[in-house]
Amino acid sequence: MGVVIELRNVTYSYPLADKPAIKDVSLKVEEGKFYGVIGKNGSGKTTLCSIIRGFAPSFFKGELEGEVLLYGKPMSEYDQGELALHMGYVFQNPFNQISGVKETVFEEVAFGLENFGVPVEEIEERVMDIMKLTKIDHLAEQHPFELSGGQQQRLALASILVLEPDIMVIDEPTSQLDPEGTESVFEIISQLKKARKTVILVEHKVDLIAEYADEIFVLNDGELIKSGDKHDVLTDVSLLDHGVQLPQMAVLGHRLRKRGLNLDYIPITEKEAKDVIGRLIYREAQ
């Protein structure tokens, strides 16, 4: 798989800040992979996303050292329009992602395509498809401000997905949602995974990250303290020292091992826990 984004020794400070928000981070994002970004509050997750999306330093200003490459080309050589086509960005607060100039959900989803000058017939087709995918087609005629939080976040995802970006950067999309809203958003995210899109997802809910991600980046005080395969990262108990939770199943696995049970591996998802405990029971029965 080709590398789509690469950060080389990136250090970034916001204007007037005493210390850098991101310190000497180097990472590679491969095409079609799903990356989870975790870390405690203030660890630099959102800043990392802003750098990857090209908002920092172009929008936030500040000072950036090192190199940020998109498809091998420095990020600074892309204009915001090109970046919008390559990369979608979904924020935490669904309410702030509504353009504020459209009176129906349909028009809101179509807003991005209008900006790119896509012909009307094509807009209608693409908007209808994406509204079905994100299950907001029944809300097409409603006013965006009248939707619930979960519906607004699905609308925010639809408004970006309709642009068909290759890379999606999603920053804590479920932080303000109830379990039902969270589930509906993750349904869409799982569709992205199936469509082999490159996804970078910031999320505190590590159980969900364990379920969907291929690789994990762990940040602490602006530094990338661990990265790699989700099994290697999410079973590492040293993360607890940095205020990062482990998935419930990983905690269970560690506790079972501590009690002397010989698990084949530490599970990180419910499915894996069933598998590993099943194997254990089978072995014990024999």
């Binding site: 919008a84 924020f91 100039v101 129906t104 209008e114 896509v118």
Partner: protein, 268 residues
């Protein structure tokens, strides 16, 4: 299908005119009013006063009379107030009407004040009412997209439309803040004094929050390619009804007649 669905259709020939045609009609009407205002009988702007009947008739013909009347009442009250104040306070030698209130205190309506008051109030009433007619027969987005078609910048359209929608956003945010303040024990309901006391702790987070949210909204717009330099498309379209030419011919003819009348009155 959706482009067709979003199109705003009106059942009235005048209301259904293209927004810019209606804007021209409003501008020509304002011009006529200003010209008529210069023609006076005994110092009174009689012709301009007569013209104030035109807009209610136009509203009636446009099928918005009821809606228009509500706004008209407000404009009328304001103009009446201006008229009374001017007539009583601007002194001139000639007193049109006066009466003793008590002792030596008399209330006088001066001719000069009455003339100025009528001039100002009918000017306001005519221009405000034609604008009321225009905005009641034209939706904001119709006007904005029509102007954008004429070359107005999409950024200007965004500012115009989002400012209007901002009221809804602020209402939503203030409700959230009020609820939060109530949860903290701040009394937000009751008499005027109680409400006034709750005003400041609600306004500060509302304004600060709005400023903070602007940043995210700007980034959202960037994510949706708002600043891309290309010809934008719109699924919402404003199309002429076909009666624009006739309407413009009538409006221009009336304006020419008013101008000719003014010139003749001046020359003769």
């Amino acid at each position: 299908m959706w482009a067709e669905k979003l199109r705003i259709r009106k059942n009235n020939v005048i209301a259904d005119l293209y927004p810019l045609t209606k804007l021209w009609i409003a501008a020509l009407y304002a011009l006529c009013v200003l010209i008529l205002g210069t023609m006076k009988i005994d110092g009174y702007p009689v012709y301009m006063m007569a013209a104030f009947l035109v807009v209610p008739i136009l509203a009636l013909l446009s099928g918005i009379f009821k809606k228009f009347l509500n706004v008209y009442k407000g404009i009328f009250t304001l103009c009446l107030f201006i008229l009374v104040v001017q007539a009583l306070l601007i002194k001139s030698e000639e007193i049109v009407w006066g009466f003793k209130l008590f002792g030596n205190f008399t209330i006088n309506v001066y001719k000069g004040g009455l003339q100025k008051g009528l001039d100002l109030s009918f000017n306001i009433m005519n221009i405000a009412s034609i604008l009321a007619w225009f905005f009641q027969t034209t939706e904001n987005k119709e006007l904005v997209y029509a102007l954008e078609k004429k070359g107005m910048s999409p950024k200007a359209s965004y500012v115009f439309l989002s400012t209007l929608q901002m009221i809804k956003v602020l209402q939503h945010n203030s409700r959230v803040i009020m609820n939060a303040q109530q949860a903290r024990g701040v009394e937000t309901e009751g008499n005027l004094f109680v409400r006034a006391r709750a005003f400041l702790p609600s306004m500060v987070p509302l304004i600060m929050g709005s400023i903070a949210n602007t940043e995210e909204r700007v980034l959202t717009l960037e994510s949706k390619g708002f600043s891309v330099k290309c010809k934008k498309t719109h699924i919402f379209d404003v199309v002429p009804s076909g009666n624009e030419r006739t309407a413009m011919i009538i409006a221009v003819t009336i304006t020419i007649l008013v101008v000719v009348w003014r010139v003749l009155a001046w020359v003769l």
